[in-house]
Symmetry: C2
Subunit: 107 residues, 2 copies
DNA sequence: AATTAATATCGTAATATTGCGATATTAAGA
DNA sequence: TCTTAATATCGCAATATTACGATATTAATT
């Protein structure tokens, strides 16, 4: 037990859930919001801003990267992260389309 | 360890994350989609449709109810669930506004 | 009153997530 | 070359989530 039974759901359902899931942590919301406040890209300031250990922040960044939502660019020994706007818009559209499609008449 | 450190994030970040989190499971996506295909409200058909144990489905329904997303109406010994359209639209707007606000110029 | 059907809740096992210290790794700078 | 700074990854502990059987609960039906 304890495993999500992905097999019994279809691709769309699993993908949608995965998108929502990655966005379902306040640290990851905070990271995205913080990056968006900076005109230029960010690096280790994220760690200081967020207030979690460096290892933890790195892990959250990894999950955001897994959606393609963040791009990282190496600048010497620093990493510069930014939001991939194309993916961002894609995801927004996808979630919206879920919301629109799933509207229903109530009781 | 293992506890999400909600204290270090603000109300908005925690609430947004919570919304995303509840939607971040394929069974809950499937439940919402299934309810939306029925004109009238649904009951225990959900259990049969989803293919998870009754107890598990009931738990997922509870989480959706925790957002106010589902309304349950008692009809004899059956429960009739439907999507609360007002809350549905609210959440859609809220997530959209997050997506719009968090747009940013990239690297 | 007893039975049955529909649902919720409890308890628990399996697994996943969160968070962090310790440890790589890599590149700039002394 | 040695040091330092920035980041990623590993390993683990604490907690949360997922799933389900068993057991309530409640209302219709017999």
């Amino acid at each position: 037990m304890g495993v999500t039974k992905s097999q019994i759901f279809d691709k769309e359902q699993n993908e949608l859930a995965q998108l929502f899931k990655v966005l379902g942590h306040p640290a990851r919301i905070a990271i995205l919001q913080y990056i968006s406040t900076q005109n230029a890209c960010i690096c280790n300031d994220i760690v200081e801003e967020i207030g979690l250990a460096q290892a933890t922040v790195s892990q959250h960044l990894k999950e955001l990267k897994s959606l393609g939502l963040l791009q990282g660019e190496i600048e010497g020994k620093k990493m510069c992260y930014c939001i991939n706007l194309e993916v961002w818009n894609d995801i927004q559209l996808r979630l919206n389309s879920f919301f629109i499609t799933t509207k229903t008449n109530c009781c």
